[in-house]
Amino acid sequence: MKADTQKEELIVFKDVHKWYTPEFEVLKGITHTIYRGEVSVIIGPSGSGKSTFIRTINALEEYQRGEIIVDGIPLDHNIKNINKIRSKIGMVFQQFNLFPHLSVLHNITLAPIWIRKLSKDEAETRAMELLDRVGVKAQALKYPNQLSGGEQQRVAIARSLAMDPELMLFDEPTSALDPEMIKEVLDVMTELADNNMTLLVVTHELGFAKAVADTVLFFDGGKIVEAAPPDEFFNNPKSDRTKLFLSQILNH
């Protein structure tokens, strides 16, 4: 991450609440700021609201109260704003979500051709560059079902990168992968972080958090319980809940 003097606010959450029914509140007042170039890793028990948190950022989920501002654009039900925000954000899902009826190459070129109005050649050149970058260049003409999980997820990352996002969201990107394939995906994510991409990652991979994160956020019960750089977070957690959670996951 860049030096502190160049900190630029990218995402601002101001007391954001989300509920499905008055009894079932998922986000209970989130206030947090994410800076450009910052790598944030979000951990916490399931149902704590971490996935909901990152899904509100690109409007996959709606929120009922509070304010979210992405790169100066308020996130509300103004379609123009939503589209502008979405064009700056790339998202990678737990289940890869590649389009099974299109080839790998076509998966990546679809959006650039139809939204960014690139020509077919431009889009394909860029796509091949990205595939090379994530290490899946040889599979360009195959179909998603013919690739392994790790390869598919890397293609998914390339697909999001093709739209030149300023921010990448990762919703448990390695949870559906066989253990031997987790490293290759984490390596790609590390490379992105090294190139100053702003990342928000929900994951259980604490090794990744320790090595790459600038900030670790601990979610529990719909609130951010603790947010700190990894050294401080893992060696000197402040809240009891954090201590309890860490003890549960670090000792097996």
Binding site: P100, H101, A111, I115, N145, M163, L169
Partner: protein, 401 residues
């Protein structure tokens, strides 16, 4: 030490010595119940064959040979029949091209078609018809071999375009346009020609209409959703004949003055309405099969609802629905027979008109059995083709690792 198996180790020595006898014993006489059933069914078969099948050959089949043209094309003017042949040749052309995709040698079914055409040509037809039949077979094979030489991409576009154009082109040619081709009005169309045209058109049109209904039914907008549910459930809850009556009686009243739709259009409207509702339900099932996450991925790529539907969702749905679509064609063919009740001379309606001729009064059974055979051959081959298609689709394209 490698074992050399000379025979299947699961078979008993008896089975190996007398395979046929063993099979007979196992399948027909393995237990007391089985033996009784075999004897019973053999008796029934014997009775059926001697009492029903054999007498069939002693019946007088001249009613068929005398009225074959009526049965197949209705009152279509004889001197314009070449136009119907033309459409058949067009279809044969694109069948050949379709078969040539992913293949270098003709599939078995093409040889089957060739043999049946050759057999038919031996029967007592006019020279013109015989030549046309052989031309169809020739065209089929020629287009196949030409197709094997074409590039895959171009061929796919040609084939897709050709099939889509088949129906409008057939309509254009069969109906004709003043000055270019003499017009043959729809009330002269009949028999198998009419049944095929209406069923094909109905499938063709019910797809987009059904799609709109299905999407509307899934919409989050309450008004749209309720109206679509109302339309779909109402049409599905009533017999086809009532929908046909709506087309036949109500449509002329509902249109502005001066528009008097022909019986053909009225029947077609009813049939299309009916099939759109059923297509909508089938598509709804297909749409439900696409997981929500595909939508999410498309949304996060900022693809927008129309582009998501066009590029991501619909291609997947339609691919899965091809067997269903082929099935709908056979049901459409069978359901279309109801237009005979509103007086149209389709395959069934023409049988009534044939036997009203005092000369052929006693031939009603023959005509009905012949038509049964026609329907059977058509529907059976189409459903077998769809089974082959299903198997192919399951294997090609998306191979799971």
């Amino acid at each position: 030490m490698a074992l050399e198996l000379q025979h299947d180790p699961f078979k008993t020595p008896r089975e190996i010595e007398h395979p046929l006898l063993y099979w007979v014993h196992k399948n027909l006489f393995s237990s007391a119940l089985n033996t009784a059933l075999t004897l019973l069914s053999l008796t029934i078969l014997y009775l059926l064959v001697t009492k029903s099948l054999i007498p069939l050959f002693s019946w007088d089949w001249t009613v068929i040979s005398a009225n074959l043209k009526l049965i197949l094309t209705g009152s279509y003017p004889m001197d314009q029949l070449w136009r119907v042949w033309f459409c058949l040749w067009y279809a044969a052309l694109f069948f050949g091209l379709t078969f040539s995709m992913n293949r270098t040698r003709p599939p078995k079914v093409m040889y089957l078609i060739l043999i049946s055409i050759l057999l038919l040509a031996l029967l007592n037809f006019s020279l013109f018809n015989k030549v046309s039949m052989l031309a169809t077979a020739l065209l089929l094979f020629v287009s196949f071999f030409v197709g094997t030489q074409l590039a895959q991409q171009k061929k796919t576009i040609m084939v897709a375009g050709g099939w889509i154009l088949l129906l409008p082109l057939s309509f254009f040619i069969i109906r004709g346009v003043g000055g270019f081709l003499p017009v043959v009005k729809t009330n002269l169309w009949g028999g198998l020609l009419l049944s095929l045209l209406i069923s094909l058109t109905s499938i063709f049109l019910s797809l987009p209409i059904g799609l709109m209904l299905a999407l509307g039914r899934r919409s989050s907008m309450k008004v749209v959703k309720s109206i679509c549910i109302f339309l779909i459930e109402t049409i599905r809850g009533v017999p086809l004949i009532t929908i046909l009556f709506i087309g036949y009686l109500i449509l002329p009243m509902a249109l502005p003055q001066g528009w008097s739709p022909s019986v053909f259009i009225r029947a077609l409207t009813g049939v299309v309405m009916f099939h759109s509702a059923y297509m909508a339900e089938a598509l709804r099932g297909g749409l439900q099969g696409i997981s929500r996450t595909q939508y999410e991925a498309a949304t996060s790529l900022n693809l927008g609802p129309t582009k998501t539907m066009a590029f991501i969702i619909l291609p997947q749905v339609l691919k899965r629905m091809i067997p269903v679509l082929v099935n709908s064609f056979t049901s459409a063919l069978k359901d279309t027979s109801l237009i005979s009740i509103i007086g149209m001379l389709d395959l069934i309606g023409i049988s009534t008109s044939i036997v009203s001729n005092p000369k052929y009064l006693s031939g009603s059974a023959q005509v009905l059995f012949f038509e049964g055979a026609l329907y059977f051959v058509l529907c059976f081959s189409i459903s077998k083709a769809s089974m082959v298609l299903e198997k192919k689709l399951g294997v090609t394209g998306n191979i799971k690792k």
